[in-house]
Amino acid sequence: MNLTRRSFLKLAGATTAAATLTGVGLNKASASPSEPLRIKYTKELHTVCTFCGVGCGVICNVRDGVVVNAEGDPEHPVNEGTLCSKGASHYNVSYIYNEKGKPVPNPNRLTRCLYRAPGAASYEEVEWDWALQTIAERIKDTRDRTYEETANVGGQTVTVNRTNSIGWLGSAFCTDEENYLFHKMARAMGIINIDHCARL
């Protein structure tokens, strides 16, 4: 066996033991070596704030598939690391704090499709397919019942091709392209009461 100075000293049980950081008070091991350290892995992801059309950059910290923190992206040219009160509360979409200050799942977060029938006092859970079909049927029905081809304006009959019975709201949660298509669809149906949540 190759005998180095270091191994000779160790084999001989010499008084000069190996000099390590532990010998000068800089310990690396945990206080209870028999218990493994709780190591928590987290990923950082770039994303965009969902709340308005400004589109601030957000860095989300995700642990085990759950968002544990959301903060402004310091490299994003729009917000340079800052977030307004809505953007800063992204985390609270999923989690709120209980009386002990511990995060718990937000009970108000919608995770299922809920429907309140006309005149009903409460919501019931429904299937997405039923909900989307019903929405389409009711929009079509309302539009057909209230559609007016012409109107009397200043004593003259003019072509209007409109319905006044539907209000249509765009969303900052959607992209410009999606909002454009929604707007086109609304106009194609004759809807004229169109607005966007940013104005509210």
Binding site: T16, A19, L21, G23, L26, I39, T42, K43, E44, I59
Partner: protein, 299 residues
């Protein structure tokens, strides 16, 4: 990177004692070495590097080229400082007498066989030979020599920081000396990721979600881990090159002004051990972990 005065590092020791469990045991060592270095430089001031073309440096930084300023080191200053650091070790643990004696013999040999000025590489070769030929383990050698080199570099280069345009730097290594970083911090106000050179103390901004060693920016292969409930020290890893860098969340420091990250690094060496055990190597090549701490020895 201003020269450290006592008030700054004393404050940092207190802060680290509050923030990190178990750091109290290291207080005597940290205080001893910083005091020893402060006294040494008071009595043996070094020449500050004065020939520095700030305009040329700015051009190089804009072009993405590191300046690679590595001043030669006065051999007697090097060996003198190493001797006082050895004495500091002995004060903390008198049982190290055998190792300290071995080191002093080797230091004297080095001084006798070296020219008046040596390079950083010569110093690192000295370190490696001490690890091979004495009972000095890798981790303690890294501590001694990183403290030694960074003290000497900062004494000589501190005035350059005032004119160095690190805000224009978009690279990953230190724009001044070219060294790879071992740690950095998330800035207090903005959350920007700032890397700090362990050698010359220079700081520069780096892209938050990007590896500072291989430029990987695929977030699927980047991340960080924390240990127990301490969310201050993050071990940022990359699964493209399997290297790690430590980031300290300065937003949790409650600090006014200069923070001495080197002390935070020493307070969190458990994170370096955990990183090695999780399969990551230090991107800076700073070996804070001994081989026998990572492998279960059967002998």
């Amino acid at each position: 990177m201003p020269k450290l005065d006592r008030a700054i590092w004393e404050e940092e020791i207190k802060r680290c004692t509050r923030l990190y469990d178990g750091f109290k045991d290291a207080e005597p060592l940290i205080r001893a070495v910083y005091s020893a270095a402060e006294d040494f430089f008071k009595n043996n001031p070094l020449d500050v590097v004065s020939h520095f073309d700030a305009e040329e440096a700015e051009k190089m930084i804009r072009a993405g080229t590191t300046i690679n300023l590595n001043p030669t080191i006065d051999t007697s200053a090097l060996t003198g400082l190493l001797k006082v650091l050895n004495e500091a070790l002995l004060k903390v643990n008198p049982k190290l007498k055998g190792t300290v004696n071995e080191l002093e013999q080797k230091i004297e040999q080095f001084q006798n066989n070296s020219p008046d000025k040596v390079s950083k590489e010569d110093v690192l070769k000295l370190r490696d030979s001490l690890i091979k030929e004495t009972t000095l383990e890798k981790d303690l050698a890294t501590f001694l020599f990183s403290f030694l080199l960074s003290s000497l570099y900062r004494q000589q280069l501190y005035s350059i920081n005032e004119v160095l345009r690190t805000d224009l730097w978009e690279g990953r290594d230190c724009p001044l000396c070219g060294e790879k970083p071992h740690f950095g911090y998330l800035a207090e106000e903005s959350g920007k990721k700032m890397l700090e050179c362990w050698l010359c103390g220079n700081e520069w901004e780096h892209t938050r979600i990007k590896c500072p060693y291989c430029d990987n920016s695929d977030h699927e292969r980047l991340g960080y881990f924390t240990i127990e409930d301490n969310e201050i020290c993050r071990v940022n890893y990359c699964q493209a090159c399997y290297q790690y860098c430590k980031l300290f969340d300065a937003r949790k420091f409650n600090a006014d002004g200069k923070v001495v990250l080197a002390i935070h690094n020493l307070a969190t060496l458990g994170h370096d051990l955990a990183a090695r055990k999780e399969g990551f190597l230090p991107g800076s090549n700073q070996e804070w972990v001994n081989d026998n701490e990572v492998i279960d020895r059967q002998d």
